[in-house]
Structures are given as structure tokens and as C-alpha cells.
């Protein structure tokens, strides 16, 4: 790992100032992806800004939504009674990320800001139609993800919280790589009075995406069989040593059906 200057600011304004003033400065959340990236020398920051002292963790329920602080750890999301009761798909999703020790450090905001094409949380945010709150604005999930490892965040912009509407039903189903535990295909389904949203991670070349054909079928009939006959073209899907694009296309249907069957 290349050396860097480490800072742990005590206020959001100070953190934004450091990150905005230096394009080579990087934010550190839980570090469960970022520190391995630094070890591989894939990134060479001048300054690493630790966000752990900004008071950005915690989970609150108000009316029809749940707000999760950006620095809230996967383990806390998985164990939270409100999330388990109101968005069970999200609690289950958090419990499947990495392993126990990784879940004790990794954060939701860190994962979303990184937007790994095989990460789990982007599918929850997109399927739930959530909102990213930052130090300066609100960004709708549909506008936030802009291709793999790319988001709408500006230089120095810090996610402070994630706001998620509470659905009638939700579920996450992951067909995972047994070694890395990342999603080969992961499907988050959320049923709202206004219709069904379904987002797929792990499969798309451009990262997470909504599958509108499946959404329309499920909005008309929320049952696994409603997905029968829907063909997902492999053209924009990933091919790698773990799975071909054609196999991922097949899995999109299978895993979506499993998610719908599990939704509560």
C-alpha cells in the first residue's frame, strides 16, 4: 500500500472541505472494499478521510419510510427489528454480505458510493425507489447509479443517509459466487400499492438495473409464474470466468421467481 495522510474530521463540513479541495483525497467508510483496493495499489490517494466521527450511523422509522445513516454497518441493518419487520428483504440482504467480521465494519453508504456491479445494496435502493441524502442534496435512486463504479456523486460529496420507502412486501434472493460471496445474480423485489419494482445486481455490464418487463408482469399478478415466458436478452450482461452472459440471463428469471416466492 502506498502511504497517505490520514484524517478523521469531527464535522461533515470539515470532511467535505478536505475532499472537495483535493481531487486525490478519498473518503473511508467501513473500508472493507477500499482497504483491499489500497493494498493492491489500485488507488493512490494523497489523503484518506475517515468518516467515522461524523455521527452518520443509526436507523430511524418515520411514517412510511426508514432512514439509515450512511455509516450504519451491515450487521446493524441485518439485526435491526424495524428493518426486519418492515423491509425484511433488506435485513436478509445485509445478512448475506461478506462474512461476520466484514459485516461488523462495512457500511451501507460506503457500498452505495462504490457501486460495485456485483454489490448487493444497489439492488435494494433501486427496487425500493429510495433516496440518497448527501451533504448538499437528495438524489433519487433512479438517477444515482450511472454505470459500474460510477454514481451521481460529485467530487467531495458525501452520502449522509439513505431514505427507503416501506413496501407492502420485499425480498432479496442472491445466487452467489461461493468464494467471494458477491452476487452472480441478485434480485431485489419490492411490492408497493402503486406497483412492483425489481432490480438486478451482479448481472449487468453497466451495474444494477431495473427489469421493467418483469416489473409489469408482477404488477399485474404478483406470483412467480407471472415471470414465465419472459426472456432476458444476454446482450448487456456480464460474461466472466464465473458465468456466461447467457447463463446470467437464465438466472435472472430463476432468481426473480425465487425472490417473488419469498416476498413477505
Amino acid at each position: 500500500m502506498y502511504d497517505f495522510t490520514y484524517q478523521k474530521p469531527g464535522s461533515l463540513a470539515d470532511a467535505v472541505k478536505v475532499l472537495s479541495g483535493d481531487p486525490e483525497a478519498k473518503a473511508l467508510a467501513g473500508g472493507q472494499t477500499f482497504i483491499p483496493v489500497l493494498k493492491q495499489r489500485l488507488n493512490k490517494p494523497t489523503t484518506v478521510v475517515d468518516l467515522s466521527k461524523l455521527g452518520l450511523s443509526g436507523i430511524t422509522v418515520s411514517g412510511d419510510k426508514i432512514t439509515i445513516g450512511a455509516m450504519t454497518r451491515h450487521a446493524d441493518i441485518a439485526a435491526n427489528a424495524d428493518i426486519k419487520a418492515k423491509i425484511p428483504g433488506l435485513a436478509h440482504q445485509a445478512s448475506l454480505i461478506g462474512d461476520e467480521a466484514v459485516r461488523h465494519r462495512g457500511t451501507m453508504g460506503g457500498s452505495l458510493a462504490n457501486n460495485d456491479p456485483a454489490a448487493c445494496y444497489p439492488s435494494a435502493l433501486l427496487a425500493l425507489g429510495g433516496t440518497i441524502k448527501t451533504d448538499r442534496r437528495s438524489i433519487a435512486a433512479d438517477d444515482f447509479f450511472q454505470g459500474m463504479f460510477t454514481t451521481a456523486l460529485e467530487q467531495g460529496e458525501i452520502i449522509t443517509a439513505i431514505e427507503l420507502p416501506i413496501p407492502e412486501k420485499s425480498a432479496y434472493e442472491k445466487f452467489r459466487n461461493p468464494a467471494s460471496r458477491y452476487a452472480i445474480v441478485g434480485v431485489f423485489v419490492a411490492k408497493f400499492p402503486s406497483g412492483v419494482r425489481l432490480a438486478i445486481t451482479g448481472a449487468g455490464q453497466g451495474g444494477v438495473f431495473r427489469h421493467t418487463e418483469i416489473e409489469n408482469a408482477l404488477s399485474a399478478n404478483f406470483a412467480p409464474d407471472a415471470i414465465n415466458g419472459i426472456v432476458t436478452p444476454p446482450d448487456d450482461l456480464n460474461s466472466d470466468i464465473h458465468a456466461s452472459a447467457e447463463y446470467r440471463a437464465h438466472l435472472v428469471g430463476v432468481v426473480s421467481k425465487r425472490a417473488v416466492a419469498k416476498a413477505t
Binding site: Y6, Q32, V48, D50, D99, E100, A101, V102
Partner: protein, 161 residues
């Protein structure tokens, strides 16, 4: 150079580190606590697991400076001063839950957190899932799972004393 102040196995230390120094490097190279191992160095194997403020973490995936002000327990901090082993260590010995021993410090630290966070009991399935982040290349896990199951009642009985 920046300084980090932390408590390790009950003793406070103030150590000069670089920004890039990992917690495991601080423990092994600055404090000489070589019981915590570096296996894969890629967050997969769990040989480096220690407790930071009572919670199991991979010390190869945390900067030393992130641990400023924390209370760290390593494998060296488990046994009592007279050498009496921690119940988890004792059960690992009793059930022959190690062969080469390389993964053992991380296994034991993960197992203790797992038992502490499940006061009501631990199923075999929960133990196996809880060990997902700890790799052993000798034993095939069966005896490790047995040792953890056996340590559960002992640890909770001791905590209730």
C-alpha cells in the same frame, strides 16, 4: 509520524504509525503480538481476526489509526494470568479443533464473538455460517464446530457467575 493510542489486552499503548499501517501490522510488528496471523491478506481467511471494542473484525482490513481510542483483545489476551485457558481455547484442545494451528487464533476470536452474540444457544448451522469468514485447510471444520458448540454452555455459565 501520526500516533495511535489504544488498549491491547488491558494495557494501553501509544505507538507511532504511518497512515497506511494496518492494525495487524501494529499488533505483530510494533507490539510483538504475533499470535494474530496474516494468512491471505485479502480479507478472506480470518486468521487475523481480533476483537475491537468487543466485536470480531479482520485486523488486516482496518488501519491502525482507525483503532485509535479502542479496546483490542487478541488471542494473547484470552487466558488468565495463571495460564488457565479461556473456555473456548480449552474446548479447541479438548475436541482437537486444530492441526497446524495457523487459522486457530482467528477461529477462536470469531468463535468467542459468535457465542457471546448468541446467548440463547447456537445451532450447528449458525456455527457453520458464523465461520464463513474463517478458512481452515486441515481439519475440515467438524471438530472446530464441535468445540464451539461445547464452549457455548461453558462460556455462558462462566458469564453468569
Amino acid at each position: 509520524m501520526p500516533q495511535v493510542t489504544l488498549t491491547v489486552n488491558g494495557k494501553q499503548h501509544t505507538v507511532e504509525v504511518e497512515g497506511r499501517t494496518l492494525l495487524v501490522e501494529l499488533l505483530r510488528e510494533k507490539l510483538g503480538l504475533t499470535g494474530t496471523h496474516v494468512g491471505c491478506d485479502t480479507s478472506q481467511c480470518g486468521a487475523c481476526v481480533v476483537h475491537v471494542d468487543g466485536i470480531s473484525v479482520k485486523s488486516c482490513t482496518q488501519l491502525a489509526l482507525q483503532a485509535d481510542g479502542t479496546d483490542v483483545i487478541t488471542i494473547e489476551g484470552l487466558a488468565e494470568a495463571d495460564g488457565t485457558l479461556h473456555p473456548m481455547q480449552e474446548m479447541f484442545r479438548e475436541h482437537h479443533a486444530l492441526q497446524c494451528g495457523f487459522c486457530t487464533p482467528g477461529m477462536v476470536m470469531t468463535a468467542i464473538d459468535l457465542v457471546q452474540s448468541h446467548p440463547g444457544g447456537l445451532s450447528e448451522k449458525e456455527i457453520r455460517e458464523g465461520l464463513e469468514g474463517n478458512l481452515c485447510r486441515c481439519t475440515g471444520y467438524h471438530n472446530i464446530v464441535k468445540a464451539i458448540a461445547a464452549a457455548h454452555p461453558l462460556m455462558h455459565a462462566k458469564a453468569a457467575e
